[in-house]
């Protein structure tokens, strides 16, 4: 049997599969800083209270120009909730994609540049795994972990805790009803990431929200200076 000989060439490539995402993320981060926009990425499981927290932020940061990007697999329910608070909101429907990447944020930010926004909050898709793998150009990554999710989560989802700057333990008002070892969560979170800043908050009672907003404002100041 005669086989056609094809000339095979071996090439050394050595390129990172996340390189393109990282470069785009850096570009977004730089552009936002130039525009005076502090970009915040909220990551968590579904139902941990990202949208409700954003409603409270919208009410308490009326003197600051803010916008919200809501990402979900389906529906624009979150955008509607944020708009009711008088805040500009953009809904991304990812139709099955489990996380956001920098190229999506690069595109959507074009709608927000040049309009004087000082804070843009990205509500990432509810998922504690994939969104934590992708830098989307944020200045601050905020991880939410709600009391009903259980106190054993930090070591189950270590990357989420390692890559976040802030941990918000949410729905703290439910603490009295559930068996929950909050010290264990804080200790495990800090063992994974000694730099992580922890706040205990309740969007229902308002506990801890002002402290978190003060932290946001200081972090923006540091970022812009």
């Amino acid at each position: 049997m005669i086989k056609k000989m094809e000339e095979t060439k071996k090439i050394i490539v050595t390129r990172n599969l996340l390189e393109a995402n990282r470069l785009l993320a850096e570009k977004v981060r730089k552009r936002c800083a130039e525009e005076g926009i502090f970009l915040v990425n909220l990551v968590s499981s579904p139902g941990s209270g990202k949208t409700t927290l954003l409603e409270r932020i919208a009410e308490r940061m009326k003197d600051e120009k803010i916008a919200v990007i809501n990402a979900d697999i389906e529906t624009d329910r979150d955008r509607q909730r944020i708009e009711k608070k008088g805040v500009k909101a953009i809904q991304l429907e990812t139709k099955g994609e489990c996380h956001l990447e920098a190229f999506v944020i690069e595109q959507v930010m074009n709608e927000l540049y040049g309009k004087g926004y000082r804070y843009v909050f990205i509500e990432n898709i509810g998922n504690l795994i994939c969104p934590t793998e992708f830098d989307i150009g944020e200045h601050l990554r905020v991880l939410l972990l709600s009391i009903p999710e259980g106190d054993d989560k930090p070591r189950k989802y270590p990357l989420a805790f390692r890559t976040s700057h802030v941990l918000l333990i949410t729905k703290i008002d439910l603490l009295k009803f559930l068996q929950y070892d909050i010290e264990r969560v804080e200790k495990e979170a800090l063992s994974l990431n000694p730099e992580i800043k922890i706040f205990k908050i309740s969007s229902l009672t308002g506990e801890g929200i002002d402290e978190f907003i003060t932290h946001l404002k200081n972090a923006r100041k540091r970022c812009m200076s």
Partner: protein, 112 residues
């Protein structure tokens, strides 16, 4: 399933490389995946099979090499092989940071 996103990125890099070298098809791909990169080799292979149908890389052999992780203790600074993703220092038991083992690298291609 973010493996599919990684495979999409792999294809965009491969397309560039194939064009650059004036070739048409990819026969063999070698990836180096860190032990703690978050990507699962089996899922990468499945995602690759699915994505490669009717493309210039259909039927190509995907080889995945696992890069073992190396961590450094944040406190006593020793280098060690972490046993799990907590990167706990074997000497002081406190947290370490990963130095090697999170990479997702396209090492080489065989193209025709």
């Amino acid at each position: 399933m973010h493996e599919l996103s990684l495979i999409r990125e792999l294809f965009s890099i491969m397309e560039e490389e194939v064009k650059k070298h004036g070739k048409e098809r990819v026969k063999r791909i070698k990836l180096k995946i860190g032990e703690f990169s978050g990507a699962v080799p089996e899922y990468m292979k499945e995602a690759f099979q699915f994505y490669s149908i009717n493309t210039f890389a259909e039927g190509a052999e995907l080889e995945v090499e696992i890069e073992p992780a190396i961590a450094v203790c944040n406190f006593c600074k020793i280098t060690f092989r972490p046993s799990d993703i907590l990167f706990l220092c074997p000497r002081c038991g406190r947290s370490g940071r990963i130095e090697k083992g999170t990479e997702l690298i396209l090492e080489s291609l065989e193209i025709v």
